[in-house]
């Protein structure tokens, strides 16, 4: 815990940055967007093995029905986000970069789009294993952006014990407000989901960590908790990357996840608020994850807001609905610090996409993007939440000493939060250097 905590009693981690937050959509209630005429559903919307299609070209599906099954344990199924007909299965662009196999679904325009496929269950009877299996069946992944299968997170590795479930309501990325809205509008589902996750993981207490720029959410959640509840709500400092697992655990519990380790190593499981609110809805109804809330914002958007969108909705459709302007522009899926920019308007929204931002940044050719030599100002060193030395790493990357970077300078502890690139007065694309270095190291290892 840092100086701030000592002085003001506010929980936080050391280092990090304070970018302008632009949380202008925080007051915009969640609204449903009209269905697009076509959905693109990549089979690898999650980390792990891609799902295996259960449908073939021409097959009619109803909204909510499973259309792909999990390929083993480290995988999740996929459900039809709309009633319609499978047009084909082919390679399509995805937010994560490479094209991958996707089910393309023609949406029936006349349909009321009611969820017609569900298998309600009595939750109170289920054991921890059964809850975990039920979570896998929902197809739930980390909705904060990581898209890590939620059931895997809740399985505690052998020999480890978890005492605390942390619920991540930080939403530290600028612009994004979808988690904020979920906390305000669905506190009951969220708390329900927290109880399921506690039962699945065996945690005896739960802490909801929320940045102190969302005190209304803190109040709402506190108001929904009964006295003596094992769940408590804590405000943490508004600082990027507060919402990173390791930082949040440090802030709330003052425990440091060992380098290369998992939260379970310090007795913690972390889940995002959107994920648990989703589980709170889906588990009792026995439904799958078919839609999510995203924040559509940025200077280029005409009608910014928080929208409930079926998975697989192409970027083009969202932009048509929300309207955008600007001749030269950049589309980002997720937050501006870590989200990838998309190159194709057909790229679909996937389970891990928390936002669509349209930024009108200065063009790449402009003077303000000039890259200067590193002047060793050490701003990156003071910003890195992992206490790495990005300045040194950057200079080594320029010399292609990739192996040395990993062995002697802890390259693999970098989680690419982007703080170093953000503060660099020389505009050196440090994070990109590190991504390349890691990729090359991975390639050479295999």
């Amino acid at each position: 815990m840092g100086l701030i905590d000592l002085l003001f009693g506010l929980k936080s981690f050391t280092h990090g940055i304070h970018p302008p937050y632009h949380k202008d959509t925080a007051g915009k209630p969640i609204r449903r967007l009209p269905f697009p005429s076509q959905l693109v559903l990549p089979l690898n919307q999650h980390i792990g093995k891609p799902a295996i299609p259960l449908v073939r070209k021409g097959r009619e599906v109803v909204r909510g029905e499973p259309i792909a099954k999990a390929d083993g344990h480290f995988s999740v199924p996929l459900h039809a986000p709309a009633t319609g007909r499978v047009r084909t299965i082919e390679l399509m662009p995805t937010p994560r970069g490479p094209k991958s196999d996707a089910i393309i679904l023609d949406v029936y325009e006349g349909s009321t789009q009611e969820v017609l496929w569900k298998q309600p269950r009595e939750m109170s009877d289920l054991s921890a294993e059964e809850i975990i299996r039920a979570i896998q069946e929902t197809g739930m992944v980390g909705l904060g952006g990581a898209a890590f299968p939620s059931h895997i997170k809740l399985i505690i590795p052998e020999g480890k014990q978890v005492d605390t479930l942390i619920i991540n309501g930080c939403e530290c990325e600028p612009y994004l407000t979808c988690d904020h809205r979920i906390m305000l509008e669905h506190p009951k589902a969220l708390i329900q989901g927290i109880h399921y996750a506690m039962r699945a993981s065996g945690a005896s207490q739960a802490v909801i960590g929320i940045e102190d720029n969302k005190m209304d959410a803190v109040e709402v959640l506190r108001g929904n908790l009964s006295k003596g509840s094992p769940v408590r709500v804590e405000a943490v400092e508004t600082k990027y990357p507060q919402g990173s697992e390791k930082m949040l655990i440090k802030s709330l519990l003052n425990r440091e996840v060992p380098a290369g380790g998992l939260p379970a190593d310090v007795g913690v499981v972390v889940n995002n608020v959107g994920t648990l609110a989703g589980l709170g809805h889906l588990l009792p109804e026995g439904r799958g994850l078919i839609e999510r809330v995203i924040t559509v914002a940025g200077p280029g958007i005409v009608k910014p807001g928080n929208y409930l969108v079926p998975l697989g909705t192409p970027v083009r459709h969202i932009l048509q609905q929300a309207g955008y302007e600007g001749a030269r522009t950049e589309f980002i899926l997720g937050g501006p610090m870590m989200g990838p920019a998309v190159s194709a308007m057909d790229t679909p929204l996937t389970k891990g996409t928390s936002g669509l931002l349209v930024l009108n940044e200065p063009s790449i050719e402009e003077e303000s993007n000039k890259i200067w030599p590193c002047i060793r100002c050490a701003r990156c060193v003071s910003a890195c939440p992992m206490y790495l030395n990005p300045s040194m790493l950057g200079q080594m990357a320029a010399k292609r000493k990739y192996e040395e970077m990993a062995q002697d300078y802890h390259l693999n502890d970098c989680f690419e939060c982007g703080c170093c690139s953000y503060v660099c007065p020389s505009n050196i694309p440090l994070v990109q250097y590190f991504r390349i270095a890691k990729a090359i190291n991975r390639e050479q290892a295999t």
Binding site: I17, P19, P20, K246, E256, P258, A259, G261, D265, V266, Q320, Y324, A327, R328, T329, E330, F331, I332, P336, M337, M338, G339, P340, A341, S343, L357, E361, S363, I364, S368, K370, W372, P373, C374, I375, R376, C377, A378, V381, P385, M386, Y387, N389, S391, M392, Y409, H410, D413, E416, G418, S421, Y422, V423, P425, S426, N427, P429, V431, Q432, R435
Partner: protein, 347 residues
């Protein structure tokens, strides 16, 4: 919906305000009051020196850009800083032709040789000064009184020394401008060789002899604090330099107050302030690690005092900073920060 040009970039897509040029420009702004003060103290000789040295640095920078087929780097303002800082470390009556030599060497040997901004191991201004200190030992220790009469209408005689000639003696001229009791020595020399300690208030305000820009400790402090407040200077470095110097001086002062100067005198005399705030803190030559910064600063402070008290020279800041610069890669190497989640037992 018009067809936009989609730009692709890697995250992060937002960036903090300010770039290298802005930092450097602000350092120049912070140096300007010090330059103005020195001109007020020493008149047109100081103005000419500042101008000639800075112009030489800029021209040299441009020349080396040209020789290495690089675009002009004048717009990053770093050569301007080198020029101003170098001029401020020279005696106000320093012959202008020697100033040209100093400026050229500063850029050529101090910076261009290593590959320009960010690549240089040591502070270019101090490389320039070290060179002329060795080359022109008399000229660089010829001090003139501050606030002499007629300083805005005529040059100090040494200023206009023709190229490649040694500077004339200034004894007669000093008598002529009638500054009372001017011994031709800086407060440091007075203290070291004659045991006369200059009043602290005079040091703070700068009514003493010395290098062009090193005489008003108070003004330097204010300008440095401005930069630190704007986060364009690492306050830890000057603080540690001053701490190192004060503690070292304090130890000797306690041992023998008659022989050694008191710590306040050490802090406010000579080039310590200018060195601590504007040269030791030069980002390029200082460590980046939190612990490294502390070691580096303390080291410069301690070495400065040791040279002053026990060396043959009256002033040691320059060599102390150059030594600190030289040690920086090593300091960085051995003070790598503890990575999050390492070497700490978890509860």
């Amino acid at each position: 919906m018009s067809k936009p040009t989609i730009e692709l970039r890697t995250s992060p897509h937002v960036h903090a305000d300010g770039d290298v040029a802005k930092i450097m420009r602000n350092v120049v702004y912070a140096l300007l009051p010090i330059c103005a003060f020195t001109i007020w103290q020493f008149g047109i000789s100081a103005l000419a020196l500042l101008f000639v040295v800075t112009a030489t640095c800029l021209l040299s920078e441009r020349l080396f850009n040209h020789l290495s087929s690089q675009p002009s780097s004048l717009s990053d303002w770093s050569a301007t800083i080198t020029g101003l800082l170098l001029a401020l470390t020279l005696p106000p009556g320093f012959p202008l032709w020697m100033g040209v030599v100093a400026g050229f060497i500063a850029i050529a040997l101090g910076k261009a040789l290593f590959g320009g901004l960010g690549m240089n191991a040591m502070n270019p201004a101090l490389i320039g000064r070290a060179f002329v200190q060795a080359a022109f030992p008399v000229a660089i220790t010829t001090w003139t009184p501050a606030f002499f009469e007629g300083r805005f209408s005529r040059f100090i005689p040494t200023t206009l020394t023709p190229p490649f000639l040694q500077s004339p003696t200034i004894g007669e001229w000093v008598a002529e401008v009638k500054v009372d009791a001017f011994s031709g020595a800086t407060p440091l020399a007075l203290q070291k060789f004659e045991g006369v300690q200059t009043d602290i208030l005079e040091l703070l305000l700068g009514a003493t002899a010395g290098s062009a820009g090193e005489t008003s400790a108070l003004l330097i402090l204010i300008c440095g604090l401005y930069l630190a407040a704007r986060k364009m200077l690492d306050w830890r470095i000057p603080t540690m330099v001053m701490l190192g110097a004060a503690v070292t001086a304090g130890i000797f002062f306690v041992i023998d107050p008659a022989r050694y100067p008191d710590p306040l005198f050490v802090l406010f005399s000579g080039g310590l302030m200018l060195g601590a705030w504007f040269m030791a803190s030069d980002m390029v030559g200082s460590p980046v690690t939190p612990l490294g910064v502390v070691i580096y600063g303390l080291m410069i402070g301690v070495i400065t005092v040791i040279i002053r008290l026990f060396g043959g020279l009256t002033e040691g800041v320059m060599y102390a900073i150059l030594l600190g610069n030289a040690a920086t890669p090593l300091i960085d190497q051995i003070t790598q920060p503890r990575v999050f989640g390492q070497q700490r037992a978890n509860k």
